[in-house]
Amino acid sequence: MVKKYTRYFFSLVLVLLMIPQIAIASNSNRYEDFTNTTPKAIVEAMKLQEPALQAYQNLWNSFEKDESGTPIYPDDYAGEYISKDKLVIMLVDPSQSLKEDYIKRSKDGEHIKFENASYSLNYLNSLSSVAQQLSDQNYRISVYGVDRKANSFFISIIQEDYEKLMKNQSLTLQKTIENLPIRIEPGAPNTSTSALWGGDRITNEDNGAGLSVGIGGTYGGNNAILTAGHSNEKVGIFFPRYPYIQYLSTQTGQVVYQRANTSSSATGVGTLGDFAVVKLTGSDTATNKVYGGVSITGTYSSVPVGTTIYKYGATSGYSSGTVNQISLTVTYSDGLFTTYTVSGLYQSSMSNSSGTDAIAGGDSGGPVYMKDGTAYKLHGIVTARQEPMSGYPASIMYSTPIYYAVDAGFTVKTS
């Protein structure tokens, strides 16, 4: 009995000790100076490297650059790396005169070391075509590039696809790369750690469709974002599943709820609105932010004709306008096979300051919001646009009011 209470007591003490630490961590400030927390060994190493880094800077400046500012390396140059206080320059068959040339470029004879390499950097960079070929064959590559120290090219393919590649193409692959300095290895998918804002561009991984983030929130207790329902239908014939969604070319989540009616004779709740809820499965976070520094603090689903609204789309950006019609049933096309017939939509006339398209492909799912006093409230998300007359910018926008997504279980983040 005494033992049991002792355990409870120590657990309680532990929890109490954690409270100030959590408080300190949550109080961290974006402008806080962290230099005093750097370990001593790191500070010393940085100091030791300073002359070698300066030599590298000089070397970098000595290279010609292309239009984008990327250096054009000489054909004998194979890379470089820092080792203690030395800059190690790797050269292919370096002669004495070549070494002298590089000492001249780096303006430092004392902190330079040379290493003989088999392959030039230009040649190693050209091997990216192999990675491209693998990518074209739908193998998901997490990272590829030149391993400078190893003087080789490496391609890291995510584990699942790596196994597939080894199983299906082991011999062909070996034949392709046997005489090339290429290392193929299994890797893990990269995860991004971004805060997703309304108006950010996201991509359906399965069909490539580009859409916009509407707003962050929760769905079934999980962090989620709202976007358009069209182009986010289930994929696969035998084992249909909802598509995966990417942000900045990295998988951020998967659609868990989708609605965009395609039957012209359907009625009922399933025909109301066009939206999809994406559950965030990576480390990206949902926010109540919208591009332009706007913070959504509430919703205003039902607005009357004449209300002034704003929208932000990943392609056309910011535009503003007025609600023309409400509760419409609109038929719109994905441009090829699928025709959607969706009820409960709003129609608005939009424009932007530059007189260009106020709504464009890629804006679907973007936030439509309004100002209520000093607060910004979410009205809904972008759905479709009307084809403009030749020579005129696209201005007629159809949007889905937020109510339908809320009714389906999505909670809009308001702080």
Binding site: N207, G208, G210, D274, F337, G362, S364, R385, E387, S390
Partner: protein
């Protein structure tokens, strides 16, 4: 029962089984095509107005804007990463009329020329523009289409592109094959329909024909499935060959089966 007898008998049944399978396959393909064609005829919607096609107005005199209302005007605001420019896999020959032996080619785009296959900077569908490239109008003759030619990346003046010409459907389908091959969104859209890649390409190449049909404006000859196509011809040839072989070796089978 000798081993030889078992082997011969077994082989005979195998050949018969193959014959039945080939025949069933041929019957299915032919039956499906005949049924599809029959359904097209009986289900053609009735139109209140007489379309220029129904009045047999020559293509050159036809006001194609009369069909504008048949096509969608509202589009989902989605952005697709499309490869617009490809090298044409076949030589495209455009004519000012459906050619006879002596008709000259008015415009020729050589195989390997880079063309703008998927229209760029569209205000409507991202995949197609009615009357351009592979989105052609049907004519009154099967296999011939009426369309503005693909723009090339070099040298083609706009006047040529505003002009409609006649072109073979199979050459447009060859371009479409390549467009689908290099564009994941096309493949995804076709898969979503669940009918196979060839059926999808067939539908894209006949986009306008389908719109005209749905509005009762015209039953295009290109909408019909071919009853006698390459596959059916091959199947029928194989069936005939097997039957001939069976008949020629009839004596062998009968003797061994006694």
């Amino acid at each position: 029962m000798s081993n030889q007898f078992v082997t011969k008998s077994f082989l005979w049944w195998c050949v018969v089984l193959i014959l039945i399978i080939l025949f069933a396959f041929w019957a299915y393909r032919t039956g499906t095509a005949l049924y599809h064609n029959h359904q097209l005829r009986v289900q053609l919607p009735t139109s209140t107005s007489d379309s220029p096609y129904r009045q047999q107005v020559p293509m050159e005199q036809m006001d194609l804007t009369a069909y504008d209302t048949f096509f969608p005007k509202n589009f989902a605001a989605v952005d697709y990463p499309l490869t617009h420019r490809i090298e044409t896999p076949v030589t495209l020959r455009y004519y000012s009329e459906i050619p006879t032996d002596k008709t000259d080619v008015v415009l020729e785009i050589a195989k390997g020329t880079t063309i703008i296959a998927v229209p760029e900077n569209t205000t409507g569908s991202a995949f197609q523009v009615e009357g351009y490239g592979y989105t052609s109008y049907p004519t009154y003759k099967e296999g011939w289409r009426y369309v503005r030619p693909f723009m090339t990346t070099e040298g083609m003046d706009q006047a040529h592109n505003d002009q409609y010409y006649y072109v073979r459907m199979d050459s447009l389908e060859a371009v479409l094959d390549k467009v689908v091959e290099v564009n994941k969104p096309f493949q995804a859209a076709i898969r979503q329909q669940g009918g196979g890649i060839n059926k999808g390409k067939h539908a894209i190449a006949r986009y306008i024909d389908n719109a005209l049909y749905q509005h009762g404006a015209y039953l295009s000859p290109d909408l019909f499935y071919r009853v006698v196509d390459r596959w059916n011809t091959m199947l029928l040839s194989a069936i005939g060959l097997i039957i001939v072989l069976l008949l020629l070796n009839r004596g062998t089978w009968i003797r061994k089966n006694k």
